[in-house]
Structure formats: structure tokens, C-alpha cells
């Protein structure tokens, strides 16, 4: 059973909304966990004061509590306090400006020197141990085409620094690019950490990627499918002319060799697969007449095979 909220805030049952707010603020100022890192008692008191305030600052819930309909066991909203992150790697960007120059402040260098001489730890202790800076993690979304063909992306890091990231051709969704030495600075002459950039590839409106091959659905008219002919097909490097063979059917897959992801490393270039989609376009009386006459002379049921399995 939680403590009486009036007692927690140190106010009489007749307290006004203003008095409740003032009492809560007074306790919050004293016990806010972010102002009391490492002090578990302060956190417990802040949470108690918060839930007491939550209960009593809601007139309806306060009235129900006063009538004994609910107890003080409010569900305190779970939340993460800044201090849980503040000493972590990510919060490095919120270090005060002066600390950037000497990540291991003068007090600490001094401490290391003392330790070296007093403890007789030897040469390694003399200037403080050198160690590598921390890696920094980032995420980046790049366009489909950029990921396929490669290129360069300019990104701005949280601390204001900017980096040019070279995108290798054929980069896959979720792949991580490591930029050596672009992470946090090292300590005592140690090497800097790396920047690790996880890259997501944005989907393309009509290209789909499977491994090193690209797939695209290509609309063709009935006339183009039946009579054949040259049509323009979009590729990653611009439109190319493709011959649709005479008597092509819907769903026919044509391959444009080497027009997929370009060759990279020891992988040869992928192919572009074009799947034909028939479109009726704008039929008119002439087309209707022609088709009617043709259909009468060529009765055929393309669905015949569906009957067998049903």
C-alpha cells in the first residue's frame, strides 16, 4: 500500500490546487533523479511525489481518493531519466565544450601520473594508459539508385561535424559502413574509434532488387505484345531500347544482360529482368469490331487448365 499522498507532499487534506502544485515543485526540485545521480533514495522520493501529485492534481481522482473509492496505489508512469543515458557513450555529444579538447581532463591526467610514480606500475603508467576511443553509431537512409550505383553521401553528425561517406556500388539494405578513425577521440595518444554507419536503402517506385539483379514491370499495349516492336525501358543508367518479340504474352520475362547492379569487387554485373504487363489502353469501336471478328473465328479458352485441378 502506497503512502498517503497528502503525507507524501506534506500538505493538509484541505490543500488547494495551488498548494499541491507548490508542494510538489518543492519536492521535485530537491529530489529530481537527474539532479541526484546515483541517489536511489532521491529517485524513490521523486517518484512518490510525482504519483501523489498526479493523483491529487486531478480533481476527479482526488475526490474519489478522499471518498475512499481508490487507494493511493496509482500506477506511476515508468519513464527513463536522463541520468540513465548521461554517462553512456551516446551522451558524449552533450559534454561541455571545454572537455572536448582534453577528453580526460587535467585532474585525471594528474591522477594517472601520481599512480605511475606511487604505484611503480612502470613505463605504461607514466603518462596514463593509452586506449582507443569509442566507436560511434549512426544510421543513414539513401536512395535506391545511390545504393545500386555507389556514390558519395554527405552526412551531418549530431555534434556538428560532417562526413563524406563513400557508398560502394551494390550496397545492400542494412549494411554497415565503417569509417576508420572517425569515432570518438582516443585517450592519452590512443587511436580514435570508428564511425559505424548503418545504411537503409529506400525502396524505388518501380525497380525491385534481388541480389545483384533488378526487376521492373513494363506496361506494353496489346498491339506491342502481339506485333512486337521496340520499346524504351528505364534502367539504372537511363532508358535503353528493348525489342519486344512478336507474339509476346503478358507476364513474359525478358532479360537485359548486365543492366542490373554494376560489377563490383569480384562480383559480375547483375541483369535487369523486364516483366511484360498488358494494358488495354483506350479501346474504340474499330478495335472492338476487329476483336469480335477475330474471336469468332478463333474460339479458345485460356482457363481450361484451371478446371482440371478444381
Amino acid at each position: 500500500m502506497a503512502q498517503d499522498p497528502y503525507q507524501t507532499l506534506g500538505i493538509p487534506k484541505t490543500a488547494t490546487a495551488e498548494q499541491i502544485k507548490a508542494a510538489y515543485r518543492k519536492l521535485a526540485k530537491k529530489h529530481h533523479p537527474d539532479l541526484n545521480p546515483g541517489n536511489a533514495a532521491a529517485e524513490a522520493r521523486f517518484k512518490a511525489a510525482s504519483s501523489a501529485n498526479e493523483l491529487l492534481s486531478d480533481p476527479e481522482r482526488r475526490a474519489r481518493f478522499d471518498r475512499g473509492e481508490i487507494d493511493a496505489e496509482g500506477q506511476p508512469t515508468e519513464r527513463a531519466f536522463y541520468r540513465q543515458y548521461a554517462e553512456g557513450d551516446q551522451a558524449g555529444r552533450y559534454r561541455s565544450a571545454g572537455a572536448e579538447d582534453d577528453a580526460f581532463g587535467d585532474i585525471f591526467s594528474e591522477l594517472f601520473r601520481q599512480a605511475g610514480t606511487r604505484g611503480g606500475a612502470g613505463a605504461a603508467g607514466a603518462g596514463g594508459r593509452a586506449f582507443r576511443g569509442q566507436d560511434q553509431h549512426f544510421s543513414l537512409t539513401i536512395p535506391f539508385r545511390e545504393a545500386a550505383l555507389g556514390g558519395s553521401q554527405h552526412i551531418t553528425l549530431p555534434e556538428g561535424r560532417s562526413l563524406d561517406v563513400a557508398i560502394p556500388p551494390g550496397l545492400r539494405d542494412g549494411q554497415t559502413i565503417r569509417l576508420r578513425g572517425q569515432g570518438h577521440a582516443g585517450f592519452n595518444g590512443g587511436p580514435a574509434g570508428d564511425a559505424l554507419i548503418e545504411v537503409s536503402v529506400a525502396p524505388h517506385p518501380f525497380f525491385r532488387r534481388e541480389g545483384d539483379d533488378i526487376h521492373v514491370d513494363l506496361p506494353v499495349t496489346v498491339a506491342e505484345a502481339v506485333l512486337g516492336g521496340k520499346v524504351n525501358v528505364p534502367t539504372l543508367s537511363g532508358p535503353v531500347s528493348l525489342t519486344v518479340p512478336r507474339h509476346s504474352d503478358a507476364g513474359r520475362k525478358l532479360r537485359l544482360r548486365g543492366r542490373g547492379i554494376p560489377a563490383h569487387g569480384d562480383r559480375p554485373a547483375g541483369d535487369l529482368y523486364v516483366t511484360l504487363h498488358l494494358v488495354a489502353g483506350q479501346p474504340d469501336a474499330a478495335l472492338e469490331d476487329a476483336l469480335r471478328a477475330w474471336a469468332e473465328r478463333h474460339p479458345t479458352d485460356p482457363r481450361a487448365h484451371l478446371q482440371e485441378g478444381a
Partner: protein, 102 residues
């Protein structure tokens, strides 16, 4: 990564204008993607802290940067101390424990 809309939805009483103001004042420093700010869990917790400071703790806006700067220094020092303890040799730890009453 958390978008600005999600931050607004997560923190009661916070508006998009508040967040943009915090970013503008560099109290919060989110990463940017295609020109849009994207927030980490750390940034979100910091936004909550700023919100607490302004409302429950009644820190006035002109004083807020001072409070944040002091907090940042406190946490930087704690972080350094932690790193120090993590990398200290057993002998050094023993000496520190001796000296500071462990």
C-alpha cells in the same frame, strides 16, 4: 531513431514548436537525416529533463542553459570517473579505495 512526431506524442504537454526551439537553442542536438532531426533515446530523455526543469522545477528560460551546462559537466565528470575505474589496474583501485575510504 525517433521522429519529432513521436517525441511530441510521447512527452505530455510538449509541442513540436517546443522541440524545435530546444534544437535551435542547441539544448538538444539530434542527428539529421535528409534535413530532418531524428532523436535517440538519449535525446528523448534529455527533452523530458528540460520539460521537467521548465515546469516542475520552475527553471526560467534564461537560467536553463546554465543548469544544463552544470548538469553536463556533472555527468561528464561521472563518466570520466567511471571510465577511470573501469580501466584502473587492481593496484590503483586498491589505492583509491584506501585513499577515499572505498
Amino acid at each position: 531513431m525517433i521522429t519529432i512526431t513521436t517525441v511530441v506524442a510521447t512527452v505530455p504537454g510538449l509541442t513540436e514548436a517546443d522541440i524545435l526551439h530546444y534544437v535551435e537553442a542547441e539544448w538538444v542536438r539530434p542527428a539529421r537525416q535528409a534535413g530532418e532531426p531524428v532523436f535517440s533515446e538519449t535525446d528523448l530523455a534529455r527533452i523530458r529533463l528540460i520539460q521537467d526543469l521548465r515546469t516542475a522545477l520552475e527553471v526560467e528560460e534564461p537560467t536553463l542553459p546554465l543548469v544544463l551546462s552544470l548538469l553536463d559537466q556533472l555527468y561528464a565528470t561521472r563518466r570520466q570517473l567511471r571510465l577511470l575505474l573501469e580501466t584502473a589496474s587492481p593496484e590503483l583501485r586498491a589505492q583509491l579505495a584506501d585513499r577515499f575510504g572505498g
